[in-house]
């Protein structure tokens, strides 16, 4: 034990240089990441609203009351629209993550050939990804307009697919009105990463498969997809996290309309934002955030374990 402690100290002394390097970052993380998070978790146990905000952490302690309000109490105003927000966020996250990946892989496969003007096409494909998300929300809010929106003009006036102009910004269609812009904004990134992954796959594998007479479909599932595993693992991981916490597109498209509880355009983030900054219930807002954080930790850990297990199976 003593020996171990001594070696720890000597190792710390040995790597003094590394500590100098991470010191500013560590301080920043301590004050601006760890401390707010601890405060946020503590806040979820306080009755913190517009009257007690002045006292902040000295506000009356109420134990698990906030969690009770969010999870169990059927009469609490906080729960209005919570189920719908959870449902919408789940649908939204899953469809956006998988849709981004699917479109990304299709386009990456199409791009993985030699043809004239390839760098230019790749750059142009990246264009939506540079458009800021708040602009995406604003722009698609105009594109989904009932009378003059591009989608309705195309579907009804030009192609005559639909007999009437549907309303995209109200009712159940809303979920598509937020899913499609998000996919449009984020698929170029996954395309770029998958394309880079595709280029590292050695040609010999495909040649061997050709000799064995494998169909393109089989070649994709047996060679390409497993070889791309590190890439799509990361893409799905970050897709799940970022899409669950998606905020800008929704808030810009609907304004506070996204805050109408129970609508199909209401996500977890807008729900928490509304609880905190419109109902001034900071305590319950923090409790909802903590619950969401727990769910995310579970999801990410499940995904990591699945990945590790399948890696072990392969080896």
């Amino acid at each position: 034990m003593k020996k171990n402690g001594k070696s720890l100290w000597s190792r710390i002394k040995k790597y003094r240089f590394a500590y100098y390097f991470i010191l500013p970052t560590a301080l920043a993380m301590l004050f601006l990441h760890l401390s707010p998070i601890v405060q946020g978790i503590y806040m979820s146990f306080l009755r913190l609203n517009q009257f007690t905000l002045q006292q902040y952490l000295l506000a009356p302690f109420c134990g698990f009351d906030n969690y009770y309000k969010v999870l169990i109490n059927p009469d609490s105003p906080i729960r209005i629209g919570l189920f719908e927000a959870v449902r919408n966020t789940t649908i939204y996250t899953v469809i956006v993550t998988l849709g981004t990946l699917a479109i990304g892989i299709i386009v990456a496969l199409m791009m993985n050939r030699k043809f004239f003007g390839r760098p230019l096409v790749r750059t142009l494909f990246l264009f939506p990804w540079i458009v800021p998300t708040y602009v995406t929300g604003l722009l698609w809010g105009i594109i989904w307009l009932k009378q003059g929106g591009l989608v309705n003009v195309m579907l009804v006036d030009w192609l005559h697919i639909l007999p009437f102009k549907p309303s995209w910004l109200s009712g159940p269609n809303t979920i598509w009105a937020i899913i499609i812009p998000t996919i449009w904004r984020f698929w170029p990134l996954s395309m770029l990463m998958l394309l880079a992954g595709l280029q590292t796959i050695p040609d010999e594998l495909y040649e061997a498969a050709d000799i064995d007479g494998a169909s393109p479909w089989r070649k994709f599932w047996m060679i390409t997809w497993p070889m791309l595993k590190p890439v799509w693992f990361i893409l799905i991981l970050f897709g799940l996290i970022y899409n669950t916490y998606s905020f800008n597109i929704v808030i810009m498209m609907f304004g506070f309309g996204a805050g109408y509880p129970g609508e199909w355009g209401d996500l977890m983030m807008t729900n928490i934002f509304r609880n905190s900054f419109q109902l001034w219930n900071f305590g319950t807002g923090a409790a909802t955030s903590v619950l969401l954080l727990i769910v995310m930790i579970v999801v990410v850990n499940v995904w990591f374990t699945y990945f590790k297990k399948s890696e072990e199976l392969r080896n």
Partner: protein, 479 residues
């Protein structure tokens, strides 16, 4: 039919290319729509009129010319000669003006317009002989409903129908210069200002704006540039013609309007300052930390790496209230203002984008072969010199890519900026958010703002896209 392997390959190649280009067009369509909408009229966007509007071509004035010709002047600034006998067009020229009014003298045609000021045109060959632009400040010339002009002797009295410019310019017609500006003098120079004399005529499509009697014939200039020749003896129309279509109204003025309405220059400056400094600070800190993490397995390095990944899982909204209150408390304790200052938001942004930048940069440093640094160490370089002269130059592409990534993300950030800035430090997203609330149905201005918010990042991206693509893909392949 059996095709050879190469023919098959060639055909699939072409099909894939066509499919890909179609998809590219579909992908870029929303961006094209954004730029296009920003040049349209707000009501056109709302009602779904896809084409651009054209200038109105109502014929405002008809005069005989050289006995056998007819001069028709229309509202879009187009001057047309027609043969009086059969209304065949002889000559046409459009000056593309808005809210036009005309005055004539034997030698010149004087065109007064809202957007191009006063234009002096030779009457025989329609060449421009002079132009005078008036200082009208910031008004949207597309919205001026009418202009007025009257010629008295050598002087022209011109005015615009706009609330802030109730006044008359007195212009010397010979050398085209403003002699005088008469304030609130409109009525005495233009007794009929503001009234349009229209009447109906049986058989004329629309309303008649002007008429001209030549012997037994009556020429009628009507709505939409229609010109009729009417025989009063036989009581029937003899000939009919339409002046050419008006020019397309592309409203570049939306951008000026938007810029003035939302104080966009301030937001742009704030965004550039905040994002630029955030990029620099986060990059410097991330470079040091990523180097340390990739090179040394010191006690606590695993904890640190895990903490970096864990921060990505925390919803941003959890930070919002604690940080807001920390800022307020800090100001109360030390009386140094933090909330609403540049350094406050730069600090928060730097900290917020730090973990992900470290995570990307670590891959770049890990890719540099250790042997290079070990060789330098053996040669007697200090640790710092090795970092500065060996590792840093080799990792430069990655550092640049990370920096741009931070800039793009900081440009995109709305939630912190919303809560932690004040009126002087608001960034573009907050400005646009406020503006969307205030101008609910000015879709044209919203799209203009969207375009202006996108342009800086697009320029940055196209300047440095090689680095970004390389940086992002390098991170991806290593996993």
């Amino acid at each position: 039919m059996r095709l050879s392997y190469y023919a098959k390959k060639r055909i699939t190649d072409v099909i894939i290319s066509i499919f890909m280009l179609a998809f590219l067009a579909l992908t870029l369509l929303p961006i094209g729509w954004m730029v296009y909408s920003s040049l349209k009229d707000s009501t056109d966007i709302a009602i779904g009129k896809v084409g651009l509007r054209r200038a109105r071509t109502n014929i405002l004035m008809l005069t005989p010319e050289n006995d056998d010709q007819l001069l028709a002047l229309s509202e879009d600034g187009s001057l047309n000669y027609y043969q009086a006998a059969d209304l065949v067009e002889r000559k046409h020229k459009s000056y593309k003006t808005a809210a036009t009014s005309y005055a004539l003298d034997p030698k010149y045609i004087w065109i007064m317009s809202a957007n191009k000021g006063l234009i002096k045109v030779n009457r025989d060959n329609f060449k421009k002989a002079g132009q005078l632009k008036f200082k009208t400040g910031t008004i949207d010339t597309n919205k001026v409903p009418a202009t007025y002009i009257k010629k008295i002797g050598n002087y022209l009295y011109v005015s615009m129908d706009y609330k802030r410019f109730a006044g008359v310019w007195k212009v010397d017609g010979r050398d085209m210069r403003v002699v005088d500006f008469l304030k609130n003098a409109k009525p005495q120079y233009f007794p009929h200002a503001g009234t349009i004399f229209v009447k109906d005529f049986p058989g004329v499509d629309g309303e008649v704006f002007c008429e001209l009697r030549e012997g037994p014939y009556l020429f009628l200039g009507a709505t939409g540039g229609r010109l009729y020749k009417y025989d009063t003896v036989r009581d029937e129309f003899v000939a009919q013609v339409r002046v050419p279509k008006g020019h397309l109204l592309i409203r570049f003025h939306n951008y000026i309007d938007m810029w003035k309405n939302v104080n966009f220059g301030l937001f742009l400056r704030n965004s550039l300052i905040i994002c630029g400094f955030t990029m620099v600070f986060a990059m410097i800190l991330a470079t040091f930390a990523a180097y340390a993490l990739s090179r040394f397995r010191f006690p606590g390095s695993d904890l640190f790496s895990n903490a970096i990944l864990a921060t990505q899982m925390i919803p941003m909204i959890m930070y919002l209230i604690p940080i807001y209150i920390m800022f307020v408390k800090f100001t109360l304790l030390t009386s140094i203002p933090v909330k609403g200052t540049f350094y406050g938001i730069i600090l928060i942004y730097s900290a917020w984008f730090l973990p992900f930048s470290i995570w990307i940069l670590r891959g770049f440093f890990a890719a540099i072969p250790r042997e290079l640094e070990e060789a330098a160490l053996i040669d007697g370089c200090s640790r710092l010199r090795v970092f500065w002269h060996v590792a840093l130059p080799l990792a430069m592409p990655g550092i640049i890519a990370t920096g741009i990534y931070i800039f793009l993300n900081a440009w995109d950030e709305l939630m912190f900026a919303w809560v932690l800035t004040n009126a002087d430090t608001q960034t573009i997203p907050v400005g646009i958010r406020l503006f969307v609330g205030n101008y609910q149905n000015r879709f044209d201005l919203m799209m203009a703002a969207a375009v202006v918010a996108t342009v800086p990042v697009v320029v940055l991206f196209f300047l440095l896209q090689r680095h970004i693509v390389r940086g992002l893909t390098a991170g991806a392949v290593k996993g």
